[in-house]
Structures are given as structure tokens and as C-alpha cells.
């Protein structure tokens, strides 16, 4: 294909430029004409359900597989014709921690330093630096196989950072982690983002994209179905979510049932969120909001808190694709979304 002098990337702007990328596996179109740009020093979230083509995209951009059609440039290098140069510019953290479980944390990082042509002394120094940064110094000498899920993911991130990559791919970095561990990984990604690393993040979790990314590309069945800044995408969907917290948590279900019976929730239904102790009602207008609060007061419910929120990205995705994004979702959410759009 073309050399970098014909590179369509505007200089210093786009760290990753993808045009018309296609990859088929037999009848399955893993990628069916994908375009995207990741600007230098930003985090682009690529959001989509399982099988949307996210991992295929990352594998092509890390030169692990070749596309059937289309072009992709990373840090100015063509994935097809300049894979060797490109590999010096990228870091990859996959869905499955790509560290050697039989080696210790230090040995893993040291080995990668040596593979990246650092001297023995520099490899050692860099390994210790990164162990420190990712809070793994205590566990440096332990076999990675004995690490917890979060530690392993952090070691994986550290391994990706050894060569100071210009572009970092994070392929579902928190899939399978518990919420506390997920937050640890998020903190690390945020600090890398703040250091100016360009990140392409794939995720199934809206919350994750919202936390880490500034711009978002929504992908489904190998096609891009929406893209833009996160705030823009949320504004597109419109509507708000009302969260009501009764003073007495035992009233959660009665309150939800009462609201449903009142007809004030429109086509949607009130859902109970036991985790936050709130009842969630989608609202379309200020009048509806006022009516609901008035009704609850008249019915004698004591309220501890009322808040409205912009729709979550789950809801954004639902309205864009007409299907659920990630697996577990309450059935009413679909109705809620159909009502909202």
C-alpha cells in the first residue's frame, strides 16, 4: 500500500487513522468497513457488545492479523507495509492478561525490556520504575500466577508501558474483574491518560467508556453505528432519569408499585435499584417530574433524596442499536428506552 508520505493522517493530529477496514471470517463480517481516528493524547472508547468486532480491530492495529481490505495507520506507520516499525510504537493489553504466569512480576518486565532492546541496566531500572508505579513492588518477586486478577491486569499494563508506546491499546481491560479491582485499573488508565498517552480502549461497559474516554465510537456487528464526544452522544438521546430515594428503604418496592399504578410513568415502568436504594423513573418533561414528586408527597412517602441524571451510555446504546449492549439488563430498560426516543 502507500508509504507514510502519502499518509492521509493530518500531521500531529491523529495517532490512529483507520479507513474502510474489513475483516471477514467466512460468512461472519467481523469488521465491515470501519473508519475511526484517535487524536494524539486522547482516549477513544470503542464500545460494543460481544462479537461486535472490537478485538478484531485491536488485533489488526497491533499487526497480529491482517485486514481483508482498508487501510490503517498507527503513529504514522502503515499496519500492512510497516508492521516492524509500528510494533515499536504500540503497547497492547489484551482481554486475557498477556504475562508469563510462571515468571515473577519483575522477571516479566525485565524480559520485555530486553526484548525491546533496552540494556540490562535499563531493563532493570524500567522494570522497577513500573512496578513502583503500578503498586507491585511488594509482589515483584512473586510468580505472576499467584497474583490476584487486578494485580495481573496491572502487571499487564506495566508490561505494555515498558517501551513508552505512543499508542496504547486496551482491549476490554476490566472484563471479568470485580468492581473494586476495576476501579484500580481505571485509576491506572486515568493516570496514563493524564500523562498524554494516546489510548484506544475497547469495552462493553458504558460506565467504563464514560470514566476513561473523551470520544466514543459505538460499534455493532462490524459497523460503526455512532460516534462523537460522549456528551454529544448523550445529548442525542435526550430524556432524563429520575432517581428517588425513600427515607425508609423498605418502601422501595411499594413506592415503585405505587408509581406504576399512578400512570405517571407513561409507557415506562419504575425500576428498583437496591444497590443505591433508589427507584428509577425515566421522565420526558419537567411537568412529569413535578407530577411524580407531587404524587409521592400526596401518597405520604417520606423522601430522602431526589436527583435527575442524563441517560447512561447503556441507554444511549440501546437507543442507537435497538438492542441491549451488555448482557444483564432489566427488561423494563428496553421499554424505557423505546419510550424515551
Amino acid at each position: 500500500m502507500t508509504r507514510s508520505d502519502k499518509n492521509p493522517t493530518p500531521r500531529g493530529q491523529s495517532a490512529v487513522t483507520v479507513r474502510g477496514l474489513v475483516k471477514h471470517y467466512g460468512e461472519t463480517k467481523a469488521l465491515d468497513g470501519v473508519d475511526l481516528d484517535v487524536r494524539e493524547g486522547t482516549v477513544l472508547g470503542v464500545l460494543g457488545p460481544n462479537g461486535a468486532g472490537k478485538t478484531t480491530l485491536v488485533r489488526i492495529l497491533s499487526t497480529l492479523i491482517q485486514p481483508d481490505a482498508g487501510t490503517a495507520y498507527v503513529a504514522g506507520y502503515d499496519v500492512l507495509t510497516q508492521p516492524r516499525q509500528l510494533r515499536r510504537k504500540i503497547g497492547l493489553t489484551g482481554q486475557y492478561a498477556s504475562v508469563d504466569e510462571k515468571l515473577s512480576g519483575f522477571e516479566n518486565l525485565y524480559m520485555i525490556g530486553r526484548l525491546l532492546d533496552l540494556s540490562k541496566a535499563d531493563s532493570k531500572k524500567r522494570a522497577n520504575e513500573l512496578l513502583e508505579r503500578f503498586s507491585l513492588t511488594e509482589a515483584a518477586k512473586r510468580t505472576a500466577g499467584t497474583y490476584s486478577g487486578g494485580m495481573r491486569r496491572r502487571l499487564d499494563l506495566a508490561a505494555s508501558m515498558i517501551g513508552r508506546p505512543a499508542v496504547l491499546y486496551l482491549d476490554e481491560p476490566t472484563t471479568g474483574l470485580d468492581p473494586r479491582t476495576r476501579n484500580e485499573v481505571w485509576d491506572e488508565v486515568k493516570s496514563m491518560r493524564d500523562d498524554g498517552v494516546t489510548v484506544l480502549l475497547t469495552t462493553q461497559y458504558m460506565e467504563e467508556a464514560e470514566q476513561l474516554a473523551s470520544a466514543l465510537t459505538v460499534i455493532d456487528r462490524g459497523r460503526i453505528i455512532a460516534e462523537g464526544q460522549i456528551a454529544e452522544l448523550k445529548a442525542k438521546v435526550g430524556g432524563r432519569t429520575l432517581r428517588i430515594r425513600p427515607a425508609d428503604p423498605l418502601q422501595l418496592r411499594t413506592m415503585a408499585a405505587d408509581l406504576d399504578a399512578s400512570g405517571l410513568t407513561g409507557l415506562a415502568t419504575a425500576t428498583v435499584d437496591t444497590e443505591t436504594g433508589t427507584v428509577i423513573v425515566p421522565v420526558q418533561s419537567d411537568e412529569q417530574l413535578t407530577a411524580i414528586v407531587g404524587h409521592l408527597a400526596a401518597a405520604g412517602f417520606a423522601l430522602a433524596d431526589i436527583a435527575t441524571e442524563l441517560p447512561s451510555l447503556d441507554e444511549v446504546f440501546l437507543s442507537l442499536t435497538g438492542q441491549k449492549a451488555s448482557a444483564p439488563q432489566d427488561a423494563p430498560a428496553r421499554e424505557l428506552e423505546e419510550a424515551a426516543v
Partner: protein, 283 residues
């Protein structure tokens, strides 16, 4: 990050000096360094899991004792000697056998790597595709040499007489050479097959007829004609015969040597590029 609509112009920190040439080609020295780093990885595995050396340490002991004391008396008698004659016969055969039996482990170990994300990391690093393979082969050659050292120790203990020391070293060199050629087959199996178990099963299936349908354990003249034809060009016979000729007196070297070298070159020329190709394409 609400201000991220403006592209940040801060240049990403330049990477430390990397020795790759401008076109990204990886030089010989870099390749050696990468292979060295990966060899170190495989040696650390052994250090942490010494049990993985059991095959190299115990196989030569068990097989030698088994064949010498169970079959040695009868076969030796049929050969016109006794157990001592059989020891002189079977030890060079054992050397040939070790070259293949130890080589098999390379495939299973390699296959296991593919089930971990680590292989993706290696393949996305700016290192030569071959260095991962060469590192594995280098470590297996070390394991082979250890197995051979154990074998020779047991051999001497059961009464083997090393009639020619230069011959011994030549035979060891030949069997390591052939063993490393065989490793390419197991590397291809390791890349191609789905699980380490299937690599092991198929490897076993290939190895058994080659090892037993040969002159390793017993002279071939009493085998049926068709089997004799097979054994004549079986590289295991070739290697066993050549080793026998080199280490002891009274056995011809030439035919076995040629058969072994032909197989070694043939396997390496065909299988090594194929293994590297399969490895690079594996997705």
C-alpha cells in the same frame, strides 16, 4: 476530559533509543539478544518447576535399566554374546532414542504458550518471529545434552565400554543435530494443534513406530522383509547405527550417517521455514 474536543499538541515522550534500523529490520545482534532473553525465560521456568526436568533425567535411567536387565540377557544371547554384548549394542540406540523423545516436549510447551496471552504480546513486539522458536529449541538442546549426560553415566555404571571418545562426541553431536531437526516437526504440531494433549498424543503416535521399528533396541535381520525395508531408511535406525559405529567397534558408520544427515537436512529445510511461517500467520 470535557475539553478534549481540542486535539492536544503535546508530543508523546520519545521512546528511549531503540536499536532497530530505520526500516524496522531486526539485525543479527538484536535477534541474538532477543533469543537470549527468551532462553532466559525458559530456563527460569525450569528453575521454578524442576519437575519439568524429570523426563530428561529419568527417561535415560529407566529405559536403560529396563532394556539391559529385562531384554538384555535374551537378546544378547541371540546376538552370540550375553548381557554385556547387549549393553554395547543398546546404549548407542538409547542415544538415538533420547534425541527424539526429548524433542517431543518442545511441542507441548509451545502449544501451552498459545493458550496464554503471552504469545500475542511476543507477536506484537518488534522482535524477529523466529527468536521465540529458536529460544525454545536452544533450551530443548540443553535438555537433550543433560539427558545424554545422564544416559552415559548410567551406561558406564551398567558396564558400557566407550571404545572411542572422539566417536562418542561425534555421536552426541549427530544426535543433537537430528534432535533439533525433529523439534521443528513438533513445533509445527504445537502451533497447529488445539491442545497440548493432542500434541502429545500425536507425537507419541509418530514416535513409537519410528523408535521400535528400528535398530535401536534389537538387530533388524530377524524382522520381516517389509519392516527391514522400513528400518533401513528410518532415521532412528540411521542414527542408532551411526552412533554404534562411532562409539563402538565392529559396526559400519557410513549408511546410517548418510540416512541421518539426509533426514536432518530434509526436515530442517522443509519444516523450519514452515514452522516460522505457521507461527507468524497464527491468529
Amino acid at each position: 476530559m470535557s475539553t478534549a474536543t481540542l486535539p492536544q499538541q503535546t508530543p508523546v515522550e520519545q521512546p528511549p533509543l531503540l536499536n532497530g534500523e530505520a526500516d524496522g529490520r531486526i539485525g543479527l545482534r538484536a535477534n541474538l539478544r532477543h533469543t537470549g532473553a527468551l532462553i532466559r525465560r525458559n530456563l527460569l521456568w525450569i528453575k521454578k518447576d524442576p519437575e519439568s526436568m524429570f523426563d530428561a533425567l529419568l527417561m535415560p535411567v529407566v529405559f536403560t535399566l529396563l532394556f539391559v536387565y529385562v531384554f538384555g540377557g535374551s537378546i544378547g544371547k541371540a546376538m552370540g554374546g550375553g548381557q554385556d554384548a547387549y549393553v554395547q549394542y543398546v546404549i548407542p540406540g538409547m542415544l538415538a532414542m533420547m534425541s527424539m523423545s526429548i524433542a517431543q516436549a518442545v511441542g507441548t510447551g509451545f502449544n501451552e504458550d498459545f493458550h496464554k496471552g503471552i504469545m500475542d504480546r511476543f507477536r506484537s513486539l518488534p522482535i524477529g518471529r523466529g527468536s521465540v522458536l529458536f529460544a525454545k529449541i536452544s533450551v530443548e538442546i540443553m535438555r537433550q545434552l543433560i539427558a545424554i549426560a545422564v544416559l552415559m553415566l548410567v551406561a558406564v555404571l551398567v558396564g558400557f565400554d566407550i571404545e572411542s571418545w572422539p566417536g562418542l562426541f561425534a555421536a552426541v553431536g549427530l544426535s543433537v543435530l537430528f534432535g533439533s531437526a525433529v523439534m521443528w516437526i513438533f513445533l509445527v504440531l504445537g502451533v497447529t494443534l488445539k491442545s497440548p494433549q493432542s500434541v502429545q498424543a500425536l507425537g507419541f503416535l509418530v514416535m513409537m513406530p519410528l523408535q521400535f521399528g528400528s535398530s535401536i533396541f534389537t538387530p533388524t535381520q530377524n524382522m520381516p522383509g517389509w519392516l527391514q525395508n522400513f528400518t533401513e531408511y528410518n532415521p532412528m535406525s540411521g542414527l542408532a547405527d551411526a552412533a554404534r559405529g562411532l562409539m563402538t567397534t565392529g559396526h559400519p558408520v557410513a549408511h546410517g550417517l548418510w540416512v541421518t544427515l539426509a533426514w536432518t537436512v530434509g526436515l530442517t529445510v522443509v519444516m523450519a521455514p514452515y514452522a516460522v511461517y505457521k507461527f507468524a500467520k497464527k491468529s
